[in-house]
C-alpha cells in the first residue's frame, strides 16, 4: 500500500528564517511527486511536479527536490504570505494499468510570523 508521510506536522518560522519540509514515500512504480499549497477554506493550488530522482524545481522562495525515498520543499527567507498547508502527493499506475493513482500526505502547516 502506498504511504506518504509528511514532517513536521506543523512548523512555525520567523520571517526570513529558512527551513525545509519533508515528504517521505513508499510507492511501487513512482510516476511523479506533486507539491501543492492549500490556504484555509480553499482547494489545493499546484506548485511543482518532480518526475525523477535528482530533479529540482524552483518558484520564488520555494525549491523542491526529489530522491528515491523522499522529497524536500525548501523555503528560503519565508514571508508571512507563505503561511499555508503544504501537501505532497505521489503518483503511480494503478493495479490494472489503466489509471493513475494519486496519494496525498496529511500536509505540513507552515506559519511564518512577521
Amino acid at each position: 500500500e502506498d504511504q506518504v508521510t509528511q514532517s513536521p506536522e506543523a512548523l512555525r518560522l520567523q520571517e526570513g528564517e529558512s527551513s525545509s519540509l519533508n515528504c517521505s514515500y513508499t510507492v511501487s512504480g513512482l510516476r511523479g511527486l506533486f507539491w501543492y499549497r492549500q490556504d484555509p477554506g480553499k482547494g489545493p493550488e499546484f506548485l511543482f511536479t518532480l518526475y525523477s530522482a535528482g530533479e529540482e524545481k524552483e518558484k520564488e522562495r520555494l525549491k523542491a527536490t526529489l530522491t528515491k525515498k523522499e522529497s524536500f520543499l525548501h523555503i528560503t527567507a519565508p514571508k508571512p504570505e507563505d503561511s499555508a498547508t503544504y501537501l505532497c502527493a505521489v503518483l503511480r499506475i494503478s493495479e490494472g494499468g489503466s489509471n493513475y493513482k494519486l496519494t496525498f500526505g496529511k500536509g505540513t502547516l507552515l506559519t511564518v510570523n512577521p
Binding site: 501543492y36 482547494g43 493550488e45 501537501l87 489509471n99 494519486l102 496519494t103
Partner: protein, 114 residues
C-alpha cells in the same frame, strides 16, 4: 478564465438524508476527480472520470456514495443516507489530460451531518 467551481460551498444536513454535491470543471478538461478531506487527514481519493472511459470508483468508501458525470462536463457526487462520519470537505479537481498533469482544484463543499 474560470476555474473549477463547486456548489454548495457549505451543506448542513441531518443524519439519514441524501445530499448532492456539484462540480463544474474547467472547460475542456477531460479528467475529473473527487476527493474527501477530513479534519487532520490527507486528501482521500474517491472517484475519477477520464473522458468516455468507465470511471475508477475504487476510492468510494461505501455503496452509499455514487457519482456521475454528464456530457463529459459537470459532475454530481451523491451521498445517500448520510452518516456523521461523512462530515468532511469534498473537493473536486480537473485536468486537461491524464492524472500526471497538474490537477486544478475547486474550493470544496463543506458537508456537516448532524
Amino acid at each position: 478564465g474560470a476555474g473549477v467551481s463547486q456548489s454548495p460551498s457549505n451543506k448542513v444536513t441531518e443524519k439519514g438524508k441524501d445530499v448532492e454535491l456539484r462540480c463544474d470543471p474547467i472547460s475542456g478538461h477531460t479528467a475529473l476527480y473527487w476527493y474527501r478531506q477530513s479534519l487532520g487527514q490527507g486528501l482521500e481519493f474517491l472517484i475519477y472520470f477520464q473522458g468516455n472511459s468507465a470511471p475508477d470508483k475504487s476510492g468510494l468508501p461505501s455503496d452509499r456514495f455514487s457519482a456521475e458525470r454528464t456530457g463529459g462536463s459537470v459532475s454530481t457526487l451523491t451521498i445517500q443516507r448520510t452518516q456523521q462520519e461523512d462530515s468532511a470537505v469534498y473537493l473536486c479537481a480537473s485536468t486537461s489530460g491524464p492524472s500526471y498533469n497538474e490537477q486544478f482544484f475547486g474550493p470544496g463543499t463543506r458537508l456537516t451531518v448532524l
